[in-house]
């Protein structure tokens, strides 16, 4: 049981971390609360299902294809919809919810409410310290670690990363320094959606796909972001670990844990923000007035 908690906790926290990083990246750079973020993750999982099952494309190719397609959809929805209304904060909220609902309902009409599943990329299990772990879960953890390192390197070591971080810090000054702010925002949106799509590709074989699967991760990443502090990479990672493990501990240990897992995870978040309102590693953004 301990090993199940550890493995499932790591997988869940890895996925939450990926999603939360993309979410807080686009919030930090463009101040967009993209509530459709996890809908892109769902879309990617369903595209893999479509390409590999219905069209018959090889699995690896269909994963690559679906990541590209979802990223394009993300960029298009940013250009055509979100960018036009983003100065109205409340409107951005519901337009992104509307986008998510449109995706959910489109998938519902196409596939119905029944759960679908995708074959594993690598099947079988591996023995680690006498515990057999499903290979797909190992792969998921590996890719999560790689992606986290890659996004850290992108943000900290490249010119693009400097541009993204300075735009997040102060748009106007970044603009004055010659950074093309709208372009940076679009690139950030693309990166954020692509990471969500990869997260979707990773969990597609592990979880069942339903058109409502975007809401639970959305709640969790909002909690992760509050817990870890908005705009902090390290915060997102630690927040995701705390909540991912909390959820799995409750599922395995508490009676009727499946009902309570979200409650317990969210209660932890509430307690943390009561003690430390800016989150564990909060970066306070410049006060906007």
């Amino acid at each position: 049981m301990t090993e199940a908690i550890i493995v499932n906790g790591l997988v869940a926290s890895g996925v939450y971390a990926l999603l939360a990083i993309g979410f807080s990246l686009i919030f930090g750079v463009a101040r967009i609360v993209n509530l459709a973020h996890t809908a892109f993750y769902m879309l990617s999982a369903y595209f893999i299902f479509t390409f590999s099952k219905s069209v018959g494309v090889p699995l690896l190719l269909s994963i690559a294809l679906s990541i590209v397609v979802v990223t394009i959809i993300g960029i298009l929805s940013y250009r055509l919809v979100i960018a036009r209304i983003r100065q109205h904060e409340a409107t951005t909220l519901i337009v992104t919810i509307a986008l998510a609902i449109i995706m959910q309902e489109a998938l519902f009409i196409r596939y119905g409410g029944d759960p679908s599943s995708v074959p594993e990329l690598i099947s079988g299990t591996t023995e680690i310290l006498g515990v057999s772990v499903i290979n797909q879960k190992l792969l998921t953890m590996g890719v999560v670690v790689l992606l986290l390192l890659a996004s850290w390197a992108l943000l900290m070591k490249t010119r693009l990363g400097v541009a993204i971080r300075s735009t997040a810090q102060d748009r106007e000054v970044a603009n004055l320094m010659g950074i093309n702010v709208p372009r940076i925002e679009m690139i950030t949106m693309a990166i954020s959606v692509a990471v969500a799509a990869i997260a979707g590709a990773l969990i597609a074989p592990l979880f069942v796909l339903t058109p409502g699967m975007w809401t639970h991760p959305l709640v969790m990443i909002l909690a992760v972001v509050v817990l870890g502090g908005l705009g902090s990479l390290r915060g997102s990672l630690i927040g995701a670990l705390v909540l991912g493990f909390a959820e799995n501990l409750v599922v395995f240990l508490a009676p009727s844990g499946a009902f309570l897992k979200t409650s317990v995870a969210l209660t932890i978040m509430v307690i943390v923000i009561l003690i430390k309102p800016e989150g564990l590693f909060g970066i306070t953004f410049e006060e906007e007035r």
Partner: protein
């Protein structure tokens, strides 16, 4: 000698002509209210009445969200908390002690006020986006607890067999619709009062509001409890109208729906969110299925597309857009005027 009724009638007529009919938006509100009141005489289809009863309960809820989020700027992602707390309070009191609706309404509303204060106090330390994300957590925590103790709350399936407001649907209609109008009027009056002005000030700039000698903490808590009060009334009415009350009253969908209705209608207006809720709810439950024969699966898709398209062209909401097109604010006395006027209707100042 003129009798008292005549004086009152003249006064009402003057008020109507001078303050309501002079502005198209207010005339429209009057017409909508009258149509809602007369409608059962024309269409007595049970479904229509049921949908309108539900829509007006949700209109109260959307307006209460507006009081907290639109006016005071404490954007709440978890408005289902107030709704659900009061609905469950009413259900449990009704089922276990046998309290009648006239008693559960105030108790449920008070429970929601307590819930409002309970989340208002921790949320005082949070601002902006953090606050929104944190408020999202509260109804979901409670929903998990509700589902985990099925012996008390009925678990996933909820509790059914509540006392109705009235056995006749028509009577229920004439109880709920006027309450919606009266509560809406009260909320509009609050938002128009000095308190409402302070709420505006807190949204626009909390630091400046505090610097101007406003106890923002007290007013934010007031906003949380007022909002809780009205949402709580909506929740109790819902509990007494619906056949079952289940954990979905606390769900994410309920919280998001409220925001959709309110923003679609136009925030910081009170009448906007009410209009949004009435319009969108009756569109999806009545017009689409009954009159346009939209297939059930496509209903939500079309509605979401509609909301998105309308907001792309009217980003500040439907009623706000209409108001900006039909009204001008007098630069001198700040009163609304019809957009076609050249001078203010009261102080005759030039309207640009």
């Amino acid at each position: 000698m003129i009798s008292l009724p005549v004086i009152y009638a003249t006064r009402i007529y003057q008020l109507l002509r001078g303050e309501v009919l002079i502005i198209p938006a207010r005339t429209l509100i009057l017409i909508v209210c009258l149509v809602l009141l007369i409608l059962p005489a024309v269409i007595s289809q049970p479904l229509t009445l049921r949908v309108l009863i539900m829509a007006s309960i949700f209109a109260i809820l959307a307006a209460s969200w507006d009081l907290l989020s639109g006016f005071t700027g404490q954007v709440s992602f978890g408005h289902a908390l107030f709704f659900g707390v009061s609905a469950y309070t009413a259900v449990l009191l009704n089922q276990n002690i046998g309290l009648a609706p006239w008693a559960t309404v105030p108790i449920g509303a008070i429970a929601a006020v307590v819930a409002g204060l309970a989340i208002g106090v921790p949320c005082l330390r949070l601002r902006g986006t953090y606050l929104s994300f944190a408020t999202l957590a509260f109804p979901l925590i409670l929903a998990g607890v509700v589902m985990a103790i099925p012996s008390v709350t009925g678990g996933e399936y909820g509790i059914s067999g509540m006392d109705r407001l009235s056995d006749s649907r028509m009577v229920t209609y004439y109880m709920v619709i006027p309450s919606m109008m009266i509560l809406g009027l009260i909320m509009w009056k609050i938002s128009d009062s000095k308190t409402g002005l302070i709420f505006h000030a807190i949204r626009e700039d909390e630091v400046t509001a505090r610097a101007s000698g406003i106890n923002t903490t007290r007013y934010k808590l007031l906003a949380f409890s007022l909002s809780g009060l009205f949402a709580g009334i909506a929740g109790v009415l819902f509990a007494h109208v619906m056949p079952t009350v289940g954990p979905s009253v606390l769900g994410l969908t309920r919280s998001f729906e409220v925001i959709i209705w309110a923003v679609f209608g136009g925030i910081a207006t009170i009448y906007g969110p009410m209009f949004g809720a009435l319009l969108l709810f009756s569109l999806s439950e009545l017009v689409f299925t009954q009159y346009l024969h939209v297939p059930k699966e496509a209903k939500l898709l079309i509605l979401a597309c509609l909301v998105m398209l309308i907001l792309l062209f009217m980003p500040r909401g439907l009623t706000t857009w209409m108001r900006d097109k039909t009204e001008k604010i007098c630069p001198r006395c700040k009163l609304q005027n019809v957009a076609t006027r050249k001078t203010c209707r009261v102080c005759t100042a030039d309207l640009d």
